[in-house]
Amino acid sequence: MARIDVRKTYKLYIGGAFPRSESGYSYVVNDAKGKFMANASLASRKDARDAVQAARKAFPGWAGRTAYNRAQIVYRIAEVMEDRRPQFVDAVQKSEGRTAAQANKVVDEAIDRLVWYAGWADKITQVVGGANPVAGPFFNLSTPEPTGVVAVFAPQESSLLGLVSVVAPAIVVGNTVVVTSSYERPLPAVTFAEVLATSDVPGGVINVLTGSAATTGPWLASHMDVNAIDLTGVAGDADLAKSLEEASAENLKRVRRAPSAEPDWSLDPGTDRMTGVLETKTVWHPIGI
């Protein structure tokens, strides 16, 4: 007797759980050749709202952890990804239409990027903070602190390496994230969410929405409880990017503007994605007391 297929339901990842979209909507995901691959949940505005709530709830705990501990956890994500490598290779290969060798390379780079960012957790403070010379008998110390909840739009083309490259810098410095995945290539993001769920990342630190930036974008951009927004995934859609920037102005979100075209993710990422979601706190302390 032929065995019945056990098909996987691709769901959202909010607050450490995998709910279906509140709206009940899903959409068809095709592979690079246009062949049907799966139905993914289409995140609605209420999913975005729930995700922000979960991210806000997780923020104090995550930001309060030691940088050393955050580094360990981000490194752990890399370990678990390594363990599930075939699944990622397959997802990237189909989603992005790459050869097995190319897909393998992309997965390598994604895992390496996590390890690279993990290393930054306890070093970024020394690099961007420090003691400031002031004209008076004071110690004057600046330290970077996470800004809060960051809404991220993941790149549309690079579905895994791009996703990791925009999410890791935000969380490693202590922010919590609501990320909207690539619309046409959401499956690596869902697999990545499954990795997060099993790699000591507290629920709510990373929330993954699959669906369209045009749907979730306006709500996240205007949301008063979101502290920063990264429009990388809106690259190429100048109108949407403009309206999201305008909506973000209401509560003075930190905005990372959309590039005109998607960057090459295999290049050295630099530290600006981390520093863009940090606030500087400066403390004055009298000398000699």
Partner: protein, 326 residues
């Protein structure tokens, strides 16, 4: 499977002479209370759940949120309460959303008796009432004269409403007349102030007891019946509130007299509040959809209502950063 109790024969006959024969003796009172129809627990819970699934949107939601804000008894009942905190709370009750003058004031602030003066001073003639918990709140374990003195103190300090607790020990051991007499005595001590009777339903064990306590308090002359102190879990729940709403509805049918209901404790979100309002409308009737007849005892609920209200008026989601903590 209906949970709607029909007014019992004894209740209707008692209505004529305002329950004087029912409350004439311990045994008559017990007979009456135990003669009330039993509550179908499964049915009550199912109905309460079903009423919680209504979808209230757009203009109806606008209305419900404003109504819920007007129904809030903004409460602080902590050992750590200070004059400053009570003043801040009273100011918040008068203008819950300082950024929006169209936002209505809450119904009352609810404080311990020693804070009544401070609250009254701040609220002045704003129309926001001061409610005080009295009678050895929250346990109710004190001698009657102490409870009465507690009540008089609060009224003299200017409380418009008194929230008393019943003696659950006496109620559970079946000394109904004792509970009844105590409510009557406290009501007398209240003078012009309105009396709310707290049952602490989390300690009453069964829904049947909730129904009995409701009738007992209504017969004794309470203006409001209130679920809980907020100090015991579970506090207010939908089924318990539904049974109390059924009781006030039946009481009005029997006597023509309207009694208010106040669920308190554990209601934290606008969604919950709206579920309660739907239930008030469906079970007791639209007459109760008024701050004079239905109240929420809450503290954190108000912030969620304000966030939802801001979302409705501005079209964007708000956050807890924009509202005061207490």
């Amino acid at each position: 499977m209906t949970t709607t109790p029909t007014t019992t024969a004894s209740a209707s006959s008692a209505a004529g002479n305002s329950f004087s024969d029912v409350t004439s003796s311990e045994s008559a009172l017990r007979r009456f209370l135990h003669g009330l129809p039993g509550v179908d627990q499964v049915g009550a819970e199912a109905r309460a759940t079903a009423l919680g699934t209504r979808s209230i949107k757009t203009t109806a939601k606008d209305y419900a949120i404003d109504l819920a804000i007007r129904m809030v008894d903004l409460t602080t009942l902590e050992g750590q309460d200070t004059h400053g905190k009570v003043r801040a709370l009273a100011n918040k009750a008068m203008r819950p959303d300082p950024a929006d003058p169209t936002c209505p004031a809450t119904a009352a602030v609810c404080v311990y008796p020693d804070m009544v003066g401070i609250a009254k001073e701040t609220l002045g003639t704003s129309g926001v009432n001061v409610a005080a918990v009295a009678t050895a709140f929250p346990s109710g374990r004190a001698a009657l004269d102490i409870k009465l003195a507690d009540t008089r103190d609060a009224v003299e300090a200017g409380a418009d409403e008194i929230d008393m607790v019943i003696d659950r020990g006496a109620f559970l051991s079946g000394r109904y007349l004792e509970v009844y007499d105590e409510i009557v005595a406290v009501k007398e001590a209240c003078g012009p102030a309105h009396l709310k009777v707290i049952f602490e339903t989390g300690e009453l064990q069964t829904y049947d007891n909730v129904r009995r306590a409701s009738w007992l308090a209504m017969m004794a002359g309470g203006h409001f019946i209130k679920t809980s102190t907020g100090k015991v879990q579970p506090a207010a729940t939908l089924p318990v509130t539904m049974i109390m709403l059924e009781a006030v509805r039946d009481f009005r049918e029997a006597t023509g007299q309207m009694i208010g209901v106040k669920p308190a404790g554990g209601i934290r979100t606008s969604k919950d509040a709206i579920k309660y309002l739907v239930m008030v409308n469906e079970v007791a009737g639209p007459d109760w959809l008024d701050p004079d007849w239905f109240r929420f005892g809450a503290s954190t609920l108000l912030n969620d209502l304000l966030m939802q209200r801001t979302k409705m008026t501005t079209g964007r989601y708000s956050g807890p950063d924009y509202f005061t903590l207490d």
